[in-house]
Each structure stands twice: as C-alpha cells, then as structure tokens.
C-alpha cells in the first residue's frame, strides 16, 4: 500500500451527483449515465465503481469485494463499511473480476424484497444503441445496451434472477466514469 488515495473531492456534492446518476440509471435501465465528479480509486477499481461505493456504502452496509487489498483499504477508510467474508452476507457486492453467481447473493424475501444485495459490476465498456435489448419498467419501448466484458453466462443467470421478481439482485454496471443499471425486473434479450 503506497499511501491512501483520496475519496470524493467534495463529499457532499459529489455523493449527491453520483447518487442522482445512479438513480437515473436505475429508473431507466440500460441508459448510460456519465458521472460528473468521480474519485480516482486505487487500481483495479474504475472511477465509476469507486464513486458508487462512496455514494452508497457506509458502516451500515457490509461489503464484499474482489478488487484486492488496496481497494479494500480504500473502501474501509472512505466509506467505513465492514468487509464481508462471504458475498452471500453482503449488501453491496463489488466485482471487478468474475462475480459470484447471482443466485449466491441475497435476494430478499417475499415480505422484504428490498433486503437484497446490489451487485456493483465493473465491466470494460458500456454503450447505448446496440447490443442487448432491454424491456420492463422504466423503458418506454426498448433500450439497447452493449456491455463489453460481461461475465460468461450472465444472461442465463439474469433470466433466473428476473424470475424471482419482485425478489432478486439489482446490478449497477460500471465502466470508466460511466454507469448503467439493471433492476431485477428488467428483461434482457440478446441483441
């Protein structure tokens, strides 16, 4: 560890603008949002994944991540979140490599479907207009989303996750300074 990298330049304003971008992404699945002021977290975390983490996680949200010691230390220091040993017990799961299976994450219960994990999934690139065909709440007709670097077999896992709805895991995709989201109710078809 070579000195701790800073978090948000302005913790109040940057957390708000990041949240609004994520809210917009979650409300309009497949639309790509650019974060205005992401931090520069330690590699391999992307600025977007770092920003989402700082904006949403804290001492009340157990975090599981696979991004190495520097990233863990950074998250612990700036967000203060307890690190979960098991992804199944985490409220936020941040994956830069192959993520744990969606079915291994907390999906909530019928009475408390909101008590489900959010997967912050770092991918290589996010582009609108081509790729997957998304439909569901938040989408007027169809949104297209091209995800470079989605994990193998993701769509099959997603279909199983969607079938749990209203239970299920929600996903926030991060690439560079961009985010897009897949709430559990979104239906995805290969483009």
């Amino acid at each position: 560890m070579t000195g701790l990298l800073p978090g948000f330049a302005d913790p109040v304003v940057d957390a708000q603008s990041t949240f609004r971008a994520v809210l917009e992404a979650m409300a309009r699945p497949g639309r790509v949002q650019r974060l205005p002021a992401p931090p520069a977290p330690p590699a391999p975390l992307s600025p977007a994944a770092g920003a989402v983490l700082l904006a949403l996680a804290d001492g009340e949200t157990p975090l599981w991540l696979d991004a190495g010691a520097d990233a863990s230390e950074w998250a612990r220091f700036h967000a203060g979140c307890p690190v979960a040993a098991d992804a199944g017990g985490a409220e936020f799961v941040l994956a830069v490599g192959t993520p744990p299976a969606l079915s291994a994450l907390e999906a909530g219960t019928d009475e408390d479907p909101h008590r489900s994990a959010t997967l912050i999934l770092q991918v290589a690139a996010l582009e609108e207009g081509t790729g997957w065909r998304l439909t569901g709440p938040g989408i007027e007709h169809e949104h297209r989303l091209h995800v470079t670097g989605a994990p193998d077999g993701f769509l099959a896992q997603w279909a199983a996750n969607r079938a749990l709805s209203p239970r299920g895991v929600d996903v926030i995709l991060c690439a560079g300074d961009r985010v897009a989201a897949l709430p559990r109710g979104t239906s995805i078809k290969e483009g």
Binding site: L56, E60, H114, P183
Partner: protein, 282 residues
C-alpha cells in the same frame, strides 16, 4: 442556517434514504421501510416528502413545491423557504416546465411532465389497504402474496351500493401489474397522469416510515371493473380566470346564497394561460 449540512440531513441519513430509494425504484410500488428522522416540521406537514427531496436534490437542481396544486399555499411556501435556507445554490421556481424536482401534496401538475424530472409526493398513509386491514403486519403479508381481494370486494360493494366506485381521491392503483399502491391523496382526476409518465415518481411517508417509487414508463392502472371502468372526475365547469375546460378546478364560494365559481387548482398552469391570453390580446 450555518451549522446544518446541505439540505439539512446529515450524509449518513441521506445515504440510508438513497439506498432505500434505489430499492424502491427496483421494486415499483413496493413500500420500503426506512429510518425516517424527526424533522423540524411536524409529521403530517410533508416530512416524508421533505426527506426524499433532501436526499435527492443538489445545487444544480431547480425545485418547485406545490400544495393543492398551488405554489403559494402556506405549506408550499414554508417548505420551499426551508430548502432555500438549507440548500445553498438550489434554485426554486413556480414553473412546472423549469423544475427538475417537484415536491407535491395532493396534486400532479397539469403541464405534462418530462424525462429528467423527479416528482416527490408527500404521503400521509402509504398503505392502500389500511381502512380494510389496519394491521401492518398483516398488510405486509397480503402484499407479499399479492392478495388484493379485500380491495376488490370493497370496490365491488361501492358499486353495488352507489352505482359507482366511491373513492374520489387516493384511488388505489396497481403498479407494474404487481403491487397495489396508494397514489397519495391526489384526486382520481390525476391518476391517469401516473401511467407511463416520462418522469420518475418518488413517494415519502415520514410518520409511517415508508417510501416507494414508480419508475418512468411504468404501467399504473387505477383499480376498476370491466363493466364499471374507472372514471376520473372533475367539476363540470371552466376556470373563471383562464377559461380552461380541461384542468382540475377548485370551487370557490363567493357568497352565502349559493354563489360559486371555479378556478384552476394548478396556479402555474392557470397563470401561464392567463399570460398567453393577455399576449394574444395585445
């Protein structure tokens, strides 16, 4: 108001509300419990809406606050002034078109909403079933099972007794074909505006500690029956000030001999129309 954080709430509280809002958007119409804080305004005055707005707004936003459709009602003025004091940089407006965040009590503006806008509804009673089943432990179970028979029976009895559905405001809606939801006490006239709205709609109930959401372009169906379809009601008249025959009207009593007139409840809509009429006349 130095000494208070931007938008009054501390960052930890905002994060807690923000996490709950994201889950609310991901499960349209489901009431997410949240750790509602005691606000410096009384419960019933919009503490849920205020907390949602405080968690959402930033210095780049333009906030509009209405109560009964009007920007100049006392509580709307009071809430707008609260945010102007505690959120430096935030702009406030009375124009629906200019606003990025609209906090409302009891109305949806007449001017169609657009993408990029966030509606924040103040909700006194988030549980649509509460008059039929007051126990929240039980209604939680009914929502889990999507068992809304109680409400169907109630509406059916209304029709049998009155020939029509008797709820004229806070008429329950089905969101995304899954959750029964209170649209907040808006007149049923406004219900259709929720269906497939381009704007994001957020709902906050402070005292009951629940928040919920309807994402944009989401099906919101007012409960009805095939042979007794939902009919939104408005007073049969025109606005005395702007002449609108489409807007929702307030009835104003002008004397004690039955004299009355109608005016738009939406002051921005009415004012804009009056200004246009004046321009056209000149």
């Amino acid at each position: 108001m130095s000494g208070y954080n931007f938008a009054y709430l501390d960052e930890g509280t905002k994060r807690m509300i923000r996490r709950a809002l994201l889950k609310a958007v991901a499960v349209p119409g489901f009431q997410v419990p949240f750790g509602s804080r005691e606000m410096p305004l009384p419960y019933g005055w919009g503490t849920g809406g205020i907390q949602v707005t405080a968690a959402v707004i930033g210095p780049d936003d333009t906030l509009k606050v209405i109560d009964q459709g009007a920007d100049d009602t006392t509580n709307a003025v009071s809430i707008r002034r609260f945010f102007a004091r505690v959120a430096p940089g935030l702009r406030t407006t009375e124009s629906t078109a200019e606003a990025t965040v609209i906090q409302t009590r009891h109305r949806i503006p007449e001017t169609p909403l657009r993408e990029g806008q966030v509606m924040v509804y103040q909700v006194p009673q988030p549980e649509p079933l509460f008059r039929l089943e007051p126990r929240r432990a039980e209604t939680r179970r009914l929502h889990a099972l999507a068992d809304y028979g109680l409400m169907q029976v109630k509406l059916y009895e209304d029709i049998a007794r009155h020939g029509r559905v008797a709820s004229s405001y806070d008429h329950p809606v089905m969101v995304g074909d899954r959750y029964l939801m209170s649209p907040s006490p808006i007149p049923s006239f406004d219900n259709p505006k929720m269906h497939m709205s381009p704007a994001l709609q957020l709902f906050g109930a402070g005292r009951e500690r629940r928040l919920y959401a309807v994402p944009p372009y989401t099906a919101v169906r007012s409960l009805d029956f095939e042979d007794h379809p939902f009919v939104p009601l408005r007073a049969n008249g025109r606005c005395t000030l702007c002449g609108s025959g489409e807007s929702y009207l307030d009835e104003v009593v002008t004397d004690d001999r039955g004299g009355r007139m109608f005016v738009c409840s939406d002051t921005d809509y009415c004012g804009t129309r009056q200004a246009r009429m004046k321009e056209a006349a000149e």
